[in-house]
């Protein structure tokens, strides 16, 4: 299979934007190369005949939260509000203190 050029500089920039991850120029180049190689490898999935698979049926086999609702007793989450607040890395009274972002 020929080496794909599925990912180019523009794609990487778009992905960086979507995933909210700043990339250096070196990283952009690196990831372009890496992603093309990886996607080249996973492309073999395309050739697999999956016509016999009904995904909806398969997914129904996985128990859903609806079944779990049969439970009469639901164990309450055991932590107190204080546990979470005490874990804040910086706080003012009961508020998580973060740098100004607006």
């Amino acid at each position: 299979m020929e080496r794909g050029n599925l990912i180019n500089e523009k794609t990487i920039e778009h992905l960086s934007e979507l995933s909210r991850i700043k990339l250096t120029p070196a990283e952009k180049q690196r990831f372009e190369k890496d992603l093309n190689a990886i996607l080249d490898y996973v492309n073999q999935l395309q050739a697999v005949d999956t016509a016999s698979i009904n995904l909806d049926e398969e997914l129904l086999k996985i128990k859903t939260a609806l079944e779990a609702a049969e439970k009469t007793e639901k164990e309450k989450l055991s932590f107190e509000r204080d546990d979470l607040i005490d874990g804040f890395y910086d706080r003012k009274e009961d508020w998580l203190k973060i740098p100004p972002i607006f």
Binding site: R30, F31, Y41, K63
Partner: protein
Amino acid sequence: MITLHELTIKKIHSLLLQKEISAFDLTKEFFDYIETKDKEINAYRLLLKDEALRQANEIDKKIAASENISFLAGVPLAIKDNILIRNYLTTAGSKMLAHYRAAYDAMIIQSLKKAGAIFLGKTNLDEFAMGSSSENSAFEKPKNPLDLSRVPGGTSGGSAAAVASHQAVAALGSDTGGSVRQPASFCGLVGLKPTYGAVSRFGLIAMSSSLDQIGPIAKNVEDAAYILEIIAGKDSRDETSENFQFQARSIYERKDLRGIKIGLVKEIETSSFEKDLALSYQKSLTCLQQLGATIEEISIPHISLSLPCYYVLMPAEVSSNLARFDGLRYSPSEKAGSLKDVYFETRGEYFGPETKRRIILGTFVLSSGYYDAYYLKARLVQALIKKEFEEAFQKVDLLVWPTTPTPAFKFGEKTEDPLAMYLSDIFTVPANIAGVPAVSVPIYGEEPLPYGLQFIAYHFQEAKMLNAAYLFEQISNYGKFL
């Protein structure tokens, strides 16, 4: 003085009951040893000495009062640093969580605490459990105690290194694509990945939620079984967990493997194995035959598609799960500016390269225009593979194949080529993709470094699988630590 090398869960339980040592003294001995030994190994990220000694004291009080204690009481364990222990730092091996203190205990931690286990500390791992060598740790990189120039494996490398260097009796890790079994294999230990849903993931920092499972790394099958008994079971806080009850004593049920059919997957070509692996593998098959098992060839036609499947599905889930790490909620970042700037700058700087690579890959396969061709297609192939496993287990009781294609590799050997690193997972990911349980036990050829032999069973057949693994361990006599 107790030789730490000789300790197993069973031995500790007996020593404590016979009052030959106190839990406090035993725990203290471990910490004394860790103080010198871990400079060489870097297994531990954080030690929990005060809390461990306090826990040990509690056990001693119970013993003094002739109260019943569980077989895990007083047993010193190492915990992978992506599993939450309340009030302590949990970094997931990432700068992103360098200051994150857990607000609650993971389910398995609660279960192990209830059984009286002692937590010596948190172990190093690849960042966010992504990697195959623990070289992606943003902090210390653990070394393989069998050869310090080699990796202990990943991502539970610190956990495996701790046990293999006798700095813990056993450890807990997490396995999404092999991260318990592969380090166990590299370090000459037993590593178990339970059936998906057998163990609650509540309090495990999520990587790939439909694949992650917590499992033990131990010196022998018996110890792994003891731990599984304690950690398995339904948890209403993890809706994917099942009401699975496992009894450790089930590993003694059969005294041989007569009547057991073991399948060798023909799509896993033994001709491609390197010489020493082929030798150790053949010796293993002979042992299984000596135990009375019937060995036959079986086909899982699409098993080799497990790895490409994994490298589409897992990054997709990673990109979603790691979206929460924004520099604001869990751990401070020094970044300022608009909200978007804070996200960009923090994630750009605090995530390591492998983490970034997988998030970006995952974002791609889920993005508009590519979702059907990649993510949806991978789900379809996964369903196909699951069906093929189901059909295979209608014909045989167990499957066996090696854990890794090579023994532990050298530091830096695979870091330049991500795809080469990914390919080393080729024998471990099928069990994750199919959700079936798998256990790796150490095997040796003529070279000093161990390989691993995996036993794979159908969903929730851990009893049958561990029974066979236990018998194999006894007859093959590779228990080098005992």
